[in-house]
Symmetry: C2
Subunit: 195 residues, 2 copies
Amino acid sequence: MLFHGGQVSADEVTSELPELPATSWAVLGILSFDSELSGYDVKRWADQSLAFFYWAPSQSQIYTELRRLERLGLATSRVEQTHAAKSRRLYSITSLGRRVIRRWADEVPPEPVVLKHSHILRLWAAHNGDLDRLRASLRAYRDQALRTADAAEAHARGAQRESAWRFSGIALEWSERFSRDEAARIDWLLERLDA
Amino acid sequence: MLFHGGQVSADEVTSELPELPATSWAVLGILSFDSELSGYDVKRWADQSLAFFYWAPSQSQIYTELRRLERLGLATSRVEQTHAAKSRRLYSITSLGRRVIRRWADEVPPEPVVLKHSHILRLWAAHNGDLDRLRASLRAYRDQALRTADAAEAHARGAQRESAWRFSGIALEWSERFSRDEAARIDWLLERLDA
DNA sequence: GGGAGCATGTAACGGGTTACATGATTGG
DNA sequence: CCAATCATGTAACCCGTTACATGCTCCC
């Protein structure tokens, strides 16, 4: 067994990385931005950054992943002790976790990009439905994409201030562009449908 | 029970649509392009069109969906009888299936678009890894996106010839654009990383 | 003869979701 | 005081995947 929570020899570290589902890496990634975080915090982070280019895991899943990471020794937790009950379990990445995420970043080839575009699915099958409704639906989607772009832009500005978030800021800039391109592509599509 | 494979009254048809997973609708959509198809055919179709903007369900899943559609009365099947054994089950959409997919197209709001961009996830967490490796990985992805664009373009040209595929052709044109935009966005990203 | 493609199916597994349940704290 | 937010956790469920198994047909 590789990750048993105790000391890990250099040999073990250089051998194999654990095979983890994408969500695990994403959550470990959030923890890698330093600072202790509760499951609740992780959820908020995910909704405000990950969600733009990856996806937002459900609340229950996040707690599951945090427990998994701790079991593997990639994270530790302590219970915050304030005055009363208000239990809040704070997780942080371990040094093993840091080594492992570094190897993940450098060595594990990225999985294929997943796109499930329900609007294009409907366009593709548009011979079954009403074209005007489709157009209206596409226009609504375009407007929504622009709002998403604005949200990403706002978050990107927030990240800009701290140089530690440099890359996460750039990822959010990318997300903004993605959404604007997406909106422009819908405009193109609407014109194309009239031709 | 709404869909029991027998006669369905007008009242039942106007009441509720069955709640089906996205894959069901996608497979029913493939069947809606007329013609009888085997599970194997459906899989090829999915790989060559759906995969560009949605995703390619696994072979086993497709057979499962076809059985489900038949159970619900949205499709029927017959076994093709050639000389010898070589059994091949051909599915086709029923008139109930046509009515139901029409209502799906017109009435069921599209689910949110799913994007799981593993490359941006890595960028976002790039403080954990080596920047040059990331750049190389991004360049490889950009080249791959351009190849995908070429493939979509080729399929789009194929669809153009049959006016029945008009919308599926446009969906493929959209896919081509998507991939070219994606490549351009990666180029922007590479420059942005140098700044 | 043998490999590639055609064709279908089962079984195990797990990742992730929804729904439910509970309770503390804070602010209007 | 009540609603919203903070905070965590369990249980049921199922979609979809991988792996495995089988056998035909066509063509070199």
